[in-house]
Amino acid sequence: MKHKLLSFLLGGAILTSVAFAQERKITGRVVSTSGQAVSDATVVVQGSNVATKTDANGNYSISVSKGGKVVFRSIGFEDQIVTISDQATLSVTLSSSNSALDEVVVVGYGSARKVGSVVGALTKVSGKDIGGKPTANALEALQGKVPGLQVFTSNGEPSTTQSIRLDGVGSLSGGNTPLYVMDGIPIGSGSIVSMNPEDFESVTVLKDASATSIYGARAANGVIYITTKKGKAGDRATITARAQYGWSNLANRKPQERFMTRAELQGLWLETGYRTQAQIDEINRTYPNDFKWDEYYYKKNVPIKQYDLNISGGSEKTQYYISAGYIDQEGVMYRSNFDRITLRSNITSKINNWTTVGLNLGGGYDRRQTNGWGANSTNGGLSMFVLPWFSPYDAEGNEYYDKAIPGWGRYNPKYLADMNPSPSGNQQFNPTAFIEVKPLSGLTLRSQAGMDYYNSRTSIRRLPSYDGAKGKGTATEEYSQGVYRTITNTVEYKNIFKDVHEFIVLGGQEYSDYRQDDFSGSSGGLTDDRLILLSNGTIDKDVKQSIDEYAFQSYFGRISYNFDQKYFVDATVRRDESSRFGKNLKGANFWSVGAMWNAKKETFLQNVEWVNDLRMRLSTGSQGNSGLGNYDALATVGTNTYDNAVGWGISTPGNPNLSWEKQLKTTFGVSANLFGRITLDADYFHRTTSSLLMSVPYPYTSGFAEVRSNAGNLVNNGFNLGLSAQIFKSEDYYLTPYINFGIVNQKVTEIFQGKDYWVVPNTGVSWAVGKPVEFFYPVQAGVNPDNGLMQWYLPGDNISQSTQDPNRVTTIFNSTALQQSTGIKRYPPFNGGFGFASGYKGIYLNVDFAFSKGKYLINNDRYFFENPYNFAGNNQWRDVLDYWKKPGDITKFPKYGQVNQFDSGLIEDASFLRMKGLTIGYNLPKSVFRGQNFFRSARVFYTGRNLLTFTNYSGPDPEVDSNLTYGANPNTKQSVIGLELQF
């Protein structure tokens, strides 16, 4: 069977050659470069179905004719082909394949290069780790896969976009989102959810100065480079079709289960005297239920469907990849859904010996709706205030639909969703075209143009039949168009002198501009559900419009040199001019220098067999963050209306000196491949951000609350590690575990106005010199057992130090006077992921975990749900039963009648470990497909997302990326089954 399978696998159906010459038996041994036997290596006669395997000692024997070619292959090694002459024995040494190093990447303009020859630090995540997930946004696939990259999904909306941070938080209010570039063209992070992850060949995260400085004023947060799939030349096209179907649920229902039952809540009401027994009896007569509301507001088992079809192929001259995809996902909360159709066509053609042209067209149409009853709404985030004895069903079991639920006084969430539709339709279009000319050997001229375009329409209605405003429907139509255009021209010259001196010189120019054009119209007075266009309205007719623009003009260059693939150096420069910068500033200049040493090339390592590869890199350079508003630099006057006439009033204070945030990043890294099995990537980085973009607070007497300015410095340094191993490897089974993580330390070194600290108002977050961004809040000292009052520590003279002296406490709350450092970091210092890929025969199992440690949140839900006096009359978590009743009681909560405050009691450890992905699949054996050449392969699989969450956080979702959270639409989990066929 093994033999048969192998012969099928390797020989295919090509058995045209029947001219058997004299066959003879050849024997030998297959060893690795370290001399170890390679067992289970495949030995096959090329162009035949003759194949065998090596035994445990690496020995084999096979029949082959003279002039035949024998191929030796084993996972983790380079193939070796030997032409047979007269020998009877043939022993071969296989060298480890560093396929990762041979992979090609595109690094900041210029032509593609092998990963191993790039000085810049980068991590590439390949398409197989991105496609096929039960989530619309490709970005989530990066979670836990890239050392130093923190990826969080903050909510359960199917159309959400993840928050991404590389190497910590380098900007306090200039934004921390990386620059996204797809096939050389910058795109907005919000566009990615409109694209099919299946179309991504790879996503490469560019990390250090050598890799990012060439992107200049937008590169401080790193660059995420998306490469879409290309066709591969072959005699026959490859068609892949896949269908997936599954269900979504809340990732974690524990917080919902904290709410009290009828008996518990009534017990509390009686005990605190909030209600008398007689009143409780009355309630029980009127509302004899004990309803589980969480499953009413947060649906169960909502469907998700995904279909993908792609075809790739081509000839030597022209390659194509075309694809179509569809996803339809419903959210767990009402009126939350997303469906998306995508199409892509990527064509590259070599029109003559020196000219290549390419056109990538990616487009899609998606429809989305999000739950509109926000975090602060008792129809949304605070719906769990509902008392358990109310019920959405009447005595006959009929659901209340178009009238308020008795007692609760609010409509059924489904009714609200039905009556208040707000669907958006978004057209996304991402074309990229290039022409590349090589007029001389080594010289490449390239012009590329592309854009990121969306066109979004939202139709918001309150239907006239809505019971809450009967006959008074409203209509709003919103239109938004964004065009982000980029044109890039580069010249690259590449040459090798004396076989060892390789130079690549690159120069280029780039112009990009963005224009967003929005308008909306609305009308009211709609009376009939059949007549709900804007023009059917009779009153409140209103229009709005806004236009936002910016532009960048840039020049850049790079020189790369390597000596014999052993010593590499490169240097980059970039100049950016932008419409966003203040009048007093012309342009921003950026630079980097970097070096890499390929140690394996040194003679002293050449014979160290367990070291297959060892490289060290060091780079330093500057980048910018241009996350200032489009017109923040200008002092402007806007309009308003009085008595149907236009009025002019001050809009923005302006700042003619407003500039980009400046970053200097230095990275030292080591990457290695050991024993042919272990891959290691480690780096240490140091980021210094200066001229921090801040909304510097001003006294209100100035007429402004804040002015966008450059002030302050921030330092981040840390360590990233990626480690993977091939523990078992053979054609039949494999197990490759991995771990990636990043540790980062942050320190504010200077802020505005020479202050030592600034507590950002109403956030609980402080920027204090010499410390990371921290939570500053009044610090609880526990409930005084004698009087049942909450106590807080009195801050010391320096509130940047946490002062917790049991002898200095107060029971009088004051949010400003008691605020002080809690010693808790705002940003999680330790993030990463681990997992493994494994397989046995046709069965495979892949598991991916993501984690964050040292992550804290102000759990504002607890202010609502653990505040039985302040929110009396609403349901609460049962934790509140632990309150002070009599002297001597040691309790979590003070005596009834005290308001629980915004203090350190709400700050909770939201560290988590989440099983982000679990895939079990089965590849049908090849024998199934024998005898036909239509199907190539087939597999069935199960994929789960967020199946397990481990956290001590009590709120709905620990993954929320914020300082404070309440009423989150929490993350969901998916279980999906799928079928994939290849033709």
């Binding site: 008074k472 607070p697 308001v899």
Partner: protein
């Protein structure tokens, strides 16, 4: 072929040196430096003076102090909206109401300062333009006086002639200066500035004759503001003169029937009104006072956050035209009520379904009645009383009482003062005057007599007792300014 290759190469290189325009300007805004070129520009700034004035009337500007005072009780389901203000205990300097009121008055002042400065750079082309420009200057000074009065009422002790020169009020900012870190001016200095602005407004608006329900500042509005300011300054003669001047002018007669009084409040008839900003749907909507109303269309009942205490309702006799206009008995619902039941809500700002401002009663849009003649009667009565002229005091008190369907009183001495205070409290109820009146009268309070079972009970709510010397009668300056501006001294108790 070789040539073509080279030409193509040159074209590609050529595009490298193309130059592109990177200047981008907003299209819905203009640069400040370009905005004071003509009197037509000044007119636009003047319109904004009114637009900003409208957005600084009613809403939090009157509602918050009433919630803090003694006439309203939080209901069980009030959701902690204005909870700190109502309880006093945790009413702190980072409170949003404090922040918003302070910040918005100052951003209004910054606009006015910018306009006043900009107006001085415009050269009018002719006399007509000159007249217009003077009017705009008058409008700006009027609005600035009004904002400074309200800031001082909130953030300073009541005017006391003996300590006004040392009591701290708010910083006086009279020219736009982004980098300024002004210290607090004294109560005396702020009132002097207010009077100086009023004087300029008086000169410049002399030809803007008053009329009923004016929607631009008139000379009468200036006089009404003067009367109010001088009352707060205990300038009894000045206050009485200003108030009586308006009363005697006869342009703003008191309504005399129940129906006319109802229309004045509910249907925005404009009677008795000296100044009110324009309001209209959909772009010129006013702030509302709806926390005391809370109509729920879903439940067809009312869910106010605060309800008036019974003693307040009962202080109005049944003959009083105001009672049925200011209050309404309705069905009150709520999750914590075991079932909906009858209760009394504030109806004064319910809004009308006939003015076109409201489609249903969930919105409560009404025209803010910023200056009304009834206030002038009360200013006159109190000022004459304080000046020792009980005859005139009684006269104006009784004219108002009779217009409201009541009989004349003939009290004297402290009893007359109490009658005047009670009348003021009733007439101006929930318009934002109560807390300032208690403060200047030196009175504390004891909340009492809540409507049950709706109201929250307990020492922090329905039984709240506040002494006259409670430091939180005077609001603390917002934490932001105390932190950012080293020259700011915080009020005691904050």
């Amino acid at each position: 072929m070789k040539n073509f290759k080279n030409i193509l190469g040159i074209i590609l290189l050529g595009t490298v040196v193309q130059s592109c325009n990177i200047d981008k300007f907003p299209q819905d805004k203009i640069e400040l430096s370009q905005s004071f070129q003509t009197v037509e520009d000044a007119k636009n700034w003047d319109n904004a003076t009114f637009s900003f004035f409208r957005s600084r009337s009613y809403g939090i500007y009157s509602q918050v102090t009433d919630v803090q005072a003694d006439q309203l009780n939080a209901v069980q389901d009030f959701g902690n909206v204005y909870g700190d203000e109502h309880r006093w205990t945790n009413f702190l300097s980072d409170n949003y109401s404090i922040r918003d009121i302070y910040r918005n008055y100052y951003s209004g002042i910054n606009n006015l300062n910018t306009a006043i400065k900009g107006y001085s750079t415009i050269v009018p082309k002719n006399d007509a333009e000159k007249t217009l420009l003077n009017q705009y200057i008058g409008d700006a000074h009027f609005a600035r006086a009004y904002y400074y009065l309200n800031l001082t009422l909130r953030f300073a002790k009541a005017y006391n002639a003996s300590s006004a020169e040392s009591d701290l009020a708010v910083p006086l900012v009279l020219v736009p200066d982004l980098e300024a870190k002004p210290a607090r001016a004294t109560v005396d200095a702020v009132y002097k500035q207010i009077l100086s602005d009023i004087a300029i407004a008086k000169t410049n608006l002399m030809s803007q004759k008053g009329k009923l329900a004016a929607t631009r500042f008139t000379i009468d509005a200036v006089i009404a503001l003067e009367a109010r300011v001088k009352l707060y300054m205990s300038d009894w003669g000045g206050a009485a003169n200003a108030a009586v001047q308006l009363i005697k002018e006869g342009k703003y007669p008191l309504t005399t029937t129940q129906e006319a009084f109802r229309k004045l409040w509910i249907d925005d008839s404009g009677d008795e009104v000296i100044f009110q900003p324009v309001v209209s749907r959909p772009n010129e909507l006013p702030n509302t006072i709806s926390t005391t109303y809370g109509y729920s269309a879903a439940n067809k009942d009312y869910r106010p956050g605060f309800m008036p205490s019974l003693w307040v309702i009962n202080s109005f006799s049944n003959a009083d035209f105001r009672k049925s206009v200011y209050f309404k008995e309705v069905t009150v619902g709520g999750q914590s009520l075991d079932k909906p039941q009858k209760g009394i809500v504030v109806n004064k700002f319910a809004g009308s379904l006939v003015t076109g401002l409201n489609i249903d009663l969930t919105t409560n849009y009404v025209t803010p009645k910023v200056f009304r003649i009834a206030e002038m009667y009360l200013v006159a009565a109190e000022s004459y009383f304080k000046a020792g002229n009980e005859f005139e005091a009684l006269k104006y008190l009784n004219e108002l009482r009779i217009a409201r369907g009541l009989t004349a009183v003939s009290s004297s001495g402290n009893s007359l003062f109490k009658d005047i205070k009670d009348e003021r409290t009733k007439e101006l109820i929930f318009e934002g005057f109560r807390l300032d009146d208690l403060k200047r009268w030196g009175e504390g309070f004891q909340r009492r007599d809540p409507q049950l079972p709706f109201a929250r009970t307990g020492a922090e709510y329905a039984d709240k007792k506040v002494e006259a010397n409670n430091l939180k009668f005077v609001w603390g300056l917002p934490a932001n300014d105390v932190t950012i501006n080293p020259n700011i001294v915080q009020n005691p108790g904050w």
